[in-house]
């Protein structure tokens, strides 16, 4: 029996290889066509989450609130006063830091699990896998709305005035969402290759938590250290998103103009790198 050239049969019949990764443009177009899947998945997951707890969606706000209370109390007592920024209301300062940081940390942690945690979905249905991390970021964005409202109310309650600058929080958060999506895409693919990464993520998150100046002013704490340390700390985009929001809604905080460049640049670059990095392994998801 002579071996049959199956590839030639397929070629002659004009068949295409199944599961082949489409070119990036086509892939993104397909994602756009299937966008309703991502948005519905996000919406329905929030609803499912709400029906599971007695307090439902309130936990989205309660969780960072309790965390802010805890950290605020502990570090308000332990840390010397001179670590706090001058002329700033300490409580709103911590609240803004913890709430905005929560957006990053949840996107990072859940993003890393967005493929491995949905293994059965990935193994049984065809769709651009990028929809899963995307759905997650949409979910985080929806949950961010009540968080921002509560944050605003608290800040007002501490006597900060309501100004037009507050509106700029929205584009800042959209930039941060782009950054978070990029991070989620990177983490999602890396976790597929190396499962153990999920063990390290809380550690990295913690590192970012301390490095982003949530309950102290980096400028004050690092004032006695060599200059490069402050520089490294300030280039961290997570710190910049937080500082920009603080600048917009709190008195006494000043985000230098270059932070807007870092915030926008980090958003665009991280997202672009994340998309390409994630897309290149499209054929591998669900394989193991």
């Amino acid at each position: 029996m002579t071996p049959t050239d199956y590839e030639a049969i397929a070629r002659d019949a004009g068949l295409e290889r199944v599961g082949a990764r489409p070119p990036l443009g086509q892939y993104l177009a397909e994602m756009w066509r299937r966008r309703a899947f991502a948005t519905s998945l996000a919406k329905f997951r929030i609803q499912a989450q709400m029906s599971e707890n007695r307090l439902g969606l309130a936990w989205v706000v309660l969780n960072p609130l309790l965390m802010a209370a805890l950290y605020g109390t502990i570090f308000g007592i332990i840390l010397p006063r001179e670590t706090r920024p001058d002329g700033v209301n300490f409580v709103p300062f911590v609240i803004v830091g913890v709430f905005i940081f929560q957006f990053f940390s949840k996107s990072f942690a859940d993003g890393a699990k967005s493929i491995t945690g949905n293994a059965s979905l990935v193994r049984s249905l065809n769709f651009p896998r990028m929809l899963l991390p995307l759905a997650l970021i949409i979910q985080q964005l929806i949950e961010l709305i009540p968080m921002l409202l509560v944050m605003g109310i608290i800040v007002l309650g501490f006597g900060e005035p309501l100004t037009w600058w507050w509106l700029l929080v929205i584009p800042t958060m959209l930039l941060m969402a782009m950054f978070n999506l990029g991070i989620a895409l990177l983490a999602a693919r890396l976790t597929v290759h190396i499962r153990d990464l999920t063990q390290v993520i809380p550690l990295i998150t913690r590192l970012f938590f301390y490095a982003s100046g949530i309950f102290y002013s980096l400028e004050e704490v690092l004032s006695d250290q060599p200059e490069w340390m402050l520089w490294v700390a300030q280039v961290n985009p997570v710190h910049d998103y937080i500082t920009i929001v603080r600048d917009l809604i709190l008195g006494g905080i000043n985000a230098p103009g270059w932070m807007w460049f870092v915030a926008s640049g980090a958003a665009v670059v991280t997202l672009a790198v994340g998309i390409v990095f994630f897309w290149r392994a499209e054929e591998r998801y669900g394989h193991d």
């Binding site: 049959t4 199956y6 590839e7 049969i9 397929a10 019949a13 004009g14 068949l15 295409e16 290889r17 199944v18 599961g19 299937r34 309703a36 899947f37 519905s40 998945l41 329905f44 997951r45 609803q47 499912a48 029906s51 599971e52 949905n118 059965s120 979905l121 990935v122 193994r123 049984s124 249905l125 065809n126 769709f127 054929e283 591998r284 669900g286 394989h287 193991d288």
Partner: protein, 247 residues
């Protein structure tokens, strides 16, 4: 193989397909010594398919049979492109679709929302879902229960709903993995009729089943997979007879 009938155009070509699963779980016998530092969890490779090749053509209904663990379901998943081959490749005229939607559904949500979510997961547009919604709910016989969370459904009810969502989209190349027997007798007949209709509409159908009766009833070609190898391929009566003799 002597073929006297005219052949349809090829729709699926499977070319020397190898599938391997890697697992981290230790498949070794437990040793007496418990050394924490030695690498006990070696990667174990399961060679699920070992070089399967065939051509499926327009108008064929292909039954896939084999013992448990022979690689039938793996073959289906590989044809639909859900697992990447270790070696070899699969070609198709359009993306083959595995019939099933379970994984996309969220049990704490109502049946109604799950119909929407399941439809979107299958690739329907929101408009198409809206149009098909009454048909899906009607087919599942759920009536007033459609507003209740899916986790409150009986197993029959939820399998009926899953089936109705899964068959709401038509496919050119359809893969059915033992989905025929769902629900009670009445629904089984209804679902079998629906699958028959889908089969007539689809160009090529693969059916994995342990029921030789449903294979003989519906297929015009049978492939027998044995330990990851293609053991026999041809006329249903002949292949089923040989398969049953092998048991």
């Amino acid at each position: 193989m002597a073929m006297t009938e005219p052949l349809g155009a090829p729709t699926v070509v499977v070319d020397d397909l190898h599938i391997k699963y890697k697992t981290f779980t230790s498949g070794k016998k437990a040793s007496q010594k418990r050394a924490l530092l030695t690498r006990q969890r070696g990667i174990r490779v399961v060679h699920a398919l070992k070089g399967v090749s065939f051509v499926a053509r327009e108008g064929e209904s292909i039954g896939v049979i084999g013992h448990n663990g022979s690689g039938k379901s793996t073959l289906m998943r590989a044809i639909s492109g859900l697992i990447a081959p270790a070696q070899g490749q699969v070609f198709a005229s359009s993306r083959p679709a595995l019939l099933g939607v379970n994984a996309a559904l969220i049990p704490t949500l109502s049946g109604e929302k799950n119909v929407i979510l399941g439809g979107l997961a299958l690739g329907l547009t929101p408009q198409e879902i809206q149009k098909k919604y009454p048909e899906i709910v009607d087919f599942a016989d759920l009536d007033e229960f459609i507003d209740l969370p899916m986790k409150s459904y009986s197993s029959g009810m939820s399998s009926r709903l899953r089936f109705s969502i899964a068959v709401s989209r038509d496919h050119q190349i359809l893969l059915v993995d033992e989905a025929l027997a769902v629900g009670d007798k009445g629904f089984r007949q209804k679902s079998e009729a629906r699958i028959r209709a889908m089969r007539e509409q689809a160009g090529t159908v693969f059916l994995v089943s342990h029921s030789m009766k449903s294979i003989l009833d519906t297929c015009n070609r049978v492939i027998w997979i044995d330990h990851g190898n293609l053991k026999m391929d041809g006329d249903p009566e002949e292949v089923v007879k040989a398969y049953q003799a092998s048991k």
